[in-house]
Symmetry: C2
Subunit: 398 residues, 2 copies
């Protein structure tokens, strides 16, 4: 038969990034295009022990249907943890456990946006979230991301001149793909603008715990007096992404709607995964695990930046040194045909990076950037990949 | 702040059923309102062993990000299994692993329906699916369910007179809530009508393996020559619902769109859950487990029907005996105030049943029915619940 798809899905093209991933599946390709935690980052032994205990002590609870809101002990532990550690969560807030942070993007959009409503995002921003917004039929409006966060001037322009903006989407710490951390001043300015134009903010914070240099900056949610910030957290980068457990601290009134939407989506998040996270947080040394992760990634990030300085920067490619997160955002000399560069890198030189256009609110836009990830490959692979990249760039940019 | 929600979510009211569930949380209430497998139905020991093995042999695979399509060994095993066991799956079909079958409803609607498009469903039908359809902004059109399936005459009327119908939603085996199994003739007639009006069908089959009397009827998907049937399966009733693993065998062209939507929803289904299902299917005796489930539920269903015959039928309430599934659909004498009956049953007599209106395409419609579940409570609780129900009904219907 002749299939007819919905408009919102018809418009969701898997684009350039998919092409790259197709080539990246070739075992000879060194992939710097992923966003996975390092295989060394998993407390696999501990999680195995936890599973064994769960099946000894609470097997039926781990296997039976559960409530949409999430595993009650984990919810109450995390509410308390976020309050104590980050000053996040007031009387009007509550917590919902989700199937990864990705689901928070989707549920928020479903709850707040009618077809054609506008979401303001950083330009560039995380493709997964952008596609999530698009899949509900929301329109994206990108605001330039500067080295200390979104341009506040351009944000206000956008808010002044655009109808039906429902929320601002921001990744304030070690942004994906740019690595940028938004300054405290800009976080406050962003909140004040949200207040002035009476819209909400999604603060997406998957990488906040992965700061390996410098000082933490307060989360926007910590100064949310009005209940206009939806904080998005996840265990993907600090326990394990395969478990698919995220959490959102947000105004109860909004969560109620997200819960109804989640019922229709997956009923509840895998209960065994939630129990594993709870046991790991409460019976093991979670802080020591964070320290281990930070020192692992600090080492890998420095190693990667040293390699870039040695092999890639001399070709004319630049990058902003990073203080946390999983990504480095590299810039080609102005006027380079970036998509052609990325395609040839993977096809002819067997090194995969992600073209910057994948992260734009308008996929037909242009970009001089590409993103590399240094956490997934082993040190040997990383070195080989960056040497290949440098060699190819030297030739291509000559 | 003053929250403004999307129209589709604003219209999704949690209604009467939630009120009942609130009371059902009272530990003194006997709940016949759930839809959970019996705690005796879980192969908890085996699943514990499987987990231990996974963490011994493939811990990183169980914890790392995976692909949206699903765990490859499970996908290929299930494609083969469905083909051999049910004659389901042709060259144009493929399989997608989902976060429960609930997600199949949501993804299909997202892929096929624009706001305001129409989905035809049996009247009554499963509230979870109906809310899933509503959450994407689809309109529901209920077609009367007769004792052998949807009225084919009324289905054709609906198709003839309604614009923008995108698909028919049917639960052909032991329908939730009615227990009805659609006859082979009606399955064929439904498929022919879908062909004539060039629309698709979602065949939702969570209970097909739970037939404990009578003969299996062929699935609609088995005679799908055109690629217009989306078959929805789940391990929730035959392994464990807490794992949240469903699967859909559907035309590849449609699955491609559902995969893009799923990426934006939860990236992929919990990989540990998928690995558990795969190991259980391939290393344990899955058929023997199905036999165990059938004999467990056969016994419980008979026990429940005997109790109904003894305590409830004499009050004027009737029901259709069932041959499979988890639910019995009870009818009050015409003219009874059904919502009042259900509310008083739980508030004053501590026995919870689900009011029939919860399962209507139009929640403001009326119904003489209520649904009871016999798999979740222990035999003792079930007996107590039905005695309470009978006692209350005798008094209320006097």
């Amino acid at each position: 038969m002749n299939y007819k798809f919905s408009k919102r899905i018809e418009n969701l093209k898997p684009s350039a990034i998919r092409e790259i991933f197709k080539y990246a599946a070739d075992p000879e390709v060194v992939s710097l295009s992923a966003g996975n935690p390092s295989p060394d980052a998993f407390a696999a032994k501990e999680i195995g022990e936890i599973c064994a205990n769960i099946f000894k002590e609470k097997p039926i609870e781990a296997l039976q249907y559960s409530v949409t809101e999430g595993y009650a002990p984990l919810r109450s532990y995390m509410l308390d943890y976020m309050k104590k550690k980050h000053g996040i969560g007031r009387d009007f807030d509550d917590i919902l456990m989700t199937s990864g942070a990705q689901q928070i993007m989707e549920l928020t959009t479903k709850a707040l946006c009618d077809e054609g409503d506008v979401i303001i995002c950083e330009e560039p921003s995380f493709i997964g979230s952008l596609n999530s917004f698009r899949s509900i039929g929301a329109k994206l409006l990108g605001v330039e991301l500067e080295p200390d966060g979104m341009s506040i001037e351009k944000l206000e322009d956008a808010l002044k001149n655009t109808k039906n903006v429902k929320f601002i989407y921001t990744i304030p710490n070690f942004q994906n793909p740019s690595g940028v951390t938004t300054s405290l001043e800009k976080r406050k300015a962003m909140y004040e603008l949200a207040r002035k134009y009476d819209i909400m903010i999604i603060e997406d914070n998957p990488y906040g715990d992965l700061r390996y240099e410098g000082e933490d900056v307060k989360n926007i949610k910590s100064f949310d007096e009005d209940g206009r910030v939806i904080y998005s957290g996840t265990f993907s980068k600090v326990i394990a992404p395969g478990l698919r457990v995220g959490y959102t601290v947000a105004p109860s009134a909004v969560l109620k709607k997200m819960i109804v939407a989640k019922q229709g989506e997956d009923v509840h998040t895998t209960i065994l995964s939630q129990m594993i996270c709870y046991e790991f947080l409460t019976k093991y040394d979670f802080d020591a695990n964070l320290d281990m992760l930070r020192s692992l990634y600090r080492k890998k990030a420095r190693f990667c930046m040293d390699l870039l300085d040695k092999y890639v920067v001399p070709t004319g490619i630049t990058y902003q040194p990073i203080q946390g997160g999983l990504f480095i955002w590299c810039r080609l000399p102005e006027g380079t045909d970036m998509p052609d560069f990325c395609t040839k890198a993977v096809k002819e030189h067997k090194v995969a990076v992600v073209p910057g256009t994948a992260f734009l609110s308008d996929e037909n836009g242009t970009s001089d950037y590409f993103r590399i990830n240094f956490t997934t490959p082993s040190d040997e692979k990383l070195e080989e990949g960056i040497i290949r990249l440098g060699k190819f760039a030297a030739e291509y940019l000559k």
